[in-house]
């Protein structure tokens, strides 16, 4: 029998595909185009994977290039980390919800600060009025973390925080609060966003970008030396996605931001293998399950190559990307909000199939309100069912070898590489952001997508198709979280009390020393920690940084 070569057999498959297309009158002009203009055919074959080498490009989980996952067995024997975040009112209110999530099986404490905290304003600042504790936890002084942490089993859990620009100040507060409570901050596990470049897309950039990046790298350096189990940067890809980006833009601009932080750390003389394994990403998963799963596989492979080839990383840990992925909150709709349970579950399936290490999860009612205990329970239960009832974790990377998914993985990787190159042509992430290029590119994609929804070309069930004729108004029956005005009063009273009781001399000296460090080139972390010990407030510490580095001015791109 004649042995056919691979080339001959691919040729034969392509001919057969052509025949099949003709016989079945497959209209090629009716192909679908997905994000990044990847054209989707009716069917995929080995002919679409010519040149894809199994061992070097797909391989085995836990091994370079990590396409299939960072760990050999992934989540076959234990679930990934459930990591819903919450934060509202004052520390007492948030702690109560954390305890509920703990009792329901989550071993991660994850907080979202309120808008004034994100912007570095104390709760009694005039611009903070109306917003204190509304969408997140109000944080003013170390005392807030002392209340938040007291009585919590932090040894058995991780602590994470969604704070992009001022992560270093949050971390300093956490550090001092743990010391004061007799816990060892050096053993802390968890992750903090610490990504001022991604904050541009969420509108929470406080310091000018250069200053913000220096502060971020200070925290990375400090944690690598002093808190080795902590992930000091959790790049906020999700901010890009919530800011309208498509999956290719999400990965490309997040990697460009990563390149910026890495280069700054290397310029300080840090060794890539000392900190590469401490970088992680917080992605979004859209409802398009297969595209998103392929995106994660492409991202891991590209990250591994980038670490090894561009930055010369030598250890396996440096090359394997770890990430959390949250079903994209932008997919949540106002019409018949219960359907968001399904949309969010689709995103979480993509995260699971793509091999995420953690799954924050949006709540079905978040279009209307921050989550109630009930909607949090439904969100946590959704990811628990996926991880522990469906068997999709029983074998690693089950989509590998799918002609379509492997093709998509290759295509997404290729397009991400092209987009990263464009950012480099601007001179890197900071310049590309300041020029408005990135915001404009994202907005142009987003508007195209929204027009498709307006015209009905893109279906959103209950919004532009299958509308309910006499549907109930969700405002009439949803239990909406109310801001507790007493929590706001309590918060402001506590802040004033801390200001009144502190040692003024120690306080002013600590802030003076911080200013000097910021004006020089020393790592600012020890000085921020010292200021936190002297009970300087969040707004006061940020105020010093703002004065030294200058504030960020929003680009008015429309």
């Amino acid at each position: 029998m004649k042995k056919t070569t691979e080339r001959e057999s691919i040729q034969r498959i392509r001919e057969e595909e052509e025949r099949w297309s003709k016989e079945n009158r497959i209209d090629k002009s009716a192909n679908y185009s997905i994000a990044g203009n990847i054209e989707i055919k009716a069917v995929y074959t080995p002919g679409d994977l010519q040149g894809t080498d199994f061992l070097s490009q797909i391989g085995f989980p836990g091994e370079y290039p990590y396409t299939r996952g960072p760990y050999p067995e992934m989540y076959r024997h234990r679930p990934w980390q459930y990591s819903l975040f919450s934060g509202f009112g004052s520390a007492e209110d948030t702690q109560k919800r954390w305890k509920f999530l703990w009792d329901t099986g989550q071993r991660a404490f994850s907080v979202l600060p309120d808008l004034p905290t994100h912007m570095g304003l104390d709760s009694d600042h005039p611009r903070a009025e109306d917003e204190v504790g509304r969408l997140g936890l109000a944080i003013d002084t170390v005392e807030d973390f002392e209340i938040l942490f007291s009585g919590l089993p932090l040894k058995e859990a991780s602590f994470s925080c969604n704070e992009e620009t001022l992560a270093a100040v949050i971390f300093a507060f956490v550090w001092v609060a743990m010391e004061n409570l007799g816990m060892d901050p050096r053993k802390l596990r968890g992750a903090i966003s610490n990504d001022p470049l991604a904050a541009v897309h969420k509108g929470t950039t406080v310091l000018n970008l250069e200053g913000g990046v220096r502060l971020a790298v200070d925290l990375i350096e400090f944690c690598v030396r002093n808190a080795p189990r902590y992930y000091p940067i959790n790049l906020k890809a999700v901010n890009l996605r919530e800011g309208g980006a498509n999956p290719i833009q999400e990965v490309a601009y997040t990697f460009s931001n990563a390149i910026c932080y890495i280069e700054r750390a290397l310029e300080r003389g840090m060794d890539i293998d000392d900190f590469a394994s401490k970088l992680s990403i917080f992605f979004a998963s859209n409802i398009e399950i297969l595209e998103e799963a392929a995106k994660f596989r492409a991202a891991r492979r590209l990250w591994a190559k980038m670490m090894k080839e561009r930055f010369g990383a030598k250890t396996p840990k440096s090359c394997s990307l770890r990430f959390t992925a949250e079903a994209n909150p932008n997919n949540m709709q106002a019409e018949e909000p219960e359907l968001n349970l399904v949309r969010a579950a689709c995103g979480a399936i993509a995260s699971a199939l793509g091999g995420a290490q953690g799954t924050p999860h949006p709540c079905y009612d978040e279009v209307y309100s921050i989550p109630t205990e009930k909607s949090h329970s439904l969100a946590l239960g959704t990811v628990q069912i996926l991880a522990e009832e469906t068997n999709i974790t029983r074998t690693v990377d089950p989509l590998a070898g799918s002609y379509y998914v492997e093709y998509l993985t290759n295509e997404i990787e290729k397009r991400v590489v092209e987009e990263i190159k464009k950012v480099e042509e601007f001179g890197g992430a900071i310049k590309a952001l300041e020029s408005g290029y990135i915001s404009k590119t994202i907005l142009s994609w987003f508007l195209e997508d929204q027009r498709a929804i307006q015209t009905g070309e893109k279906v959103v069930v209950r919004r532009n198709k299958y509308r309910l004729k006499n549907g109930e108004n969700p405002w009439d029956y949803l239990q909406v979280h109310e801001l507790d005005s007493k929590a706001v009063e309590r918060q402001i009273k506590r802040l004033k009390e801390v200001r009144r009781m502190r040692d003024t001399q120690k306080w002013s000296e600590a802030l003076r020393n911080l200013r000097r460090a910021a004006e020089g080139s020393e790592n600012m972390m020890p000085f921020i920690i010292e200021a936190a010990r002297a009970r300087a407030s969040f707004g006061e510490i940020t105020g010093v940084l703002k004065e030294v580095f200058g504030e960020y001015h929003d680009l008015k791109v429309i």
Binding site: D130, L135, G203, E242, F446, W475, K556, I558
Partner: protein, 131 residues
């Protein structure tokens, strides 16, 4: 010839989620209006200053943070102080049903939330513009 309708689109307060504002701005522009975007994190004073400076026929305010009652009250008081009576004020965002009549009472002309058909916004503006 009537001059083009001028719209100032503003993000009021600390909320940075501005996709909705940008989307409406872009669609209003497509329908022939002139749109000026203030950027994020605007105080009521800054927004009113923009309305005066631009001679706006319409002010679109986007708030998704839930802080609309306090912020819009400050904004409308400021509008009254400056005796701006000919500007159509539209609030967009996450506005609970019970708060809608409260905002209307403060002088807001219309409230639109997510998922609104853009044609409805255009029609409202062209039919109600005060000039």
């Amino acid at each position: 010839m009537r001059k083009r309708i001028r719209v100032v689109m503003a993000k009021l307060g600390l909320d940075g989620h501005d996709l909705g504002a940008k989307m409406i701005a872009s669609f209003l522009r497509d329908s022939g209006m002139e749109v000026i975007y203030t950027g994020r994190h605007q105080t009521p004073d800054q927004v009113v200053a923009a309305v005066i400076q631009e001679g706006a026929d319409v002010l679109g305010v986007s708030i998704l943070s839930g802080a609309h009652l306090g912020l819009v009250k400050k904004l409308m008081n400021k509008m009254k102080d400056k005796e701006i009576n000919d500007c159509l004020v539209i609030v967009g965002g996450l506005i609970p049903k019970v708060d809608r009549p409260v905002l209307k009472k403060m002088g807001v002309h219309a409230i639109f939330s997510g998922g609104t058909d853009i044609e409805d916004v255009v029609t409202f503006i062209t039919e109600n513009i005060q000039r």
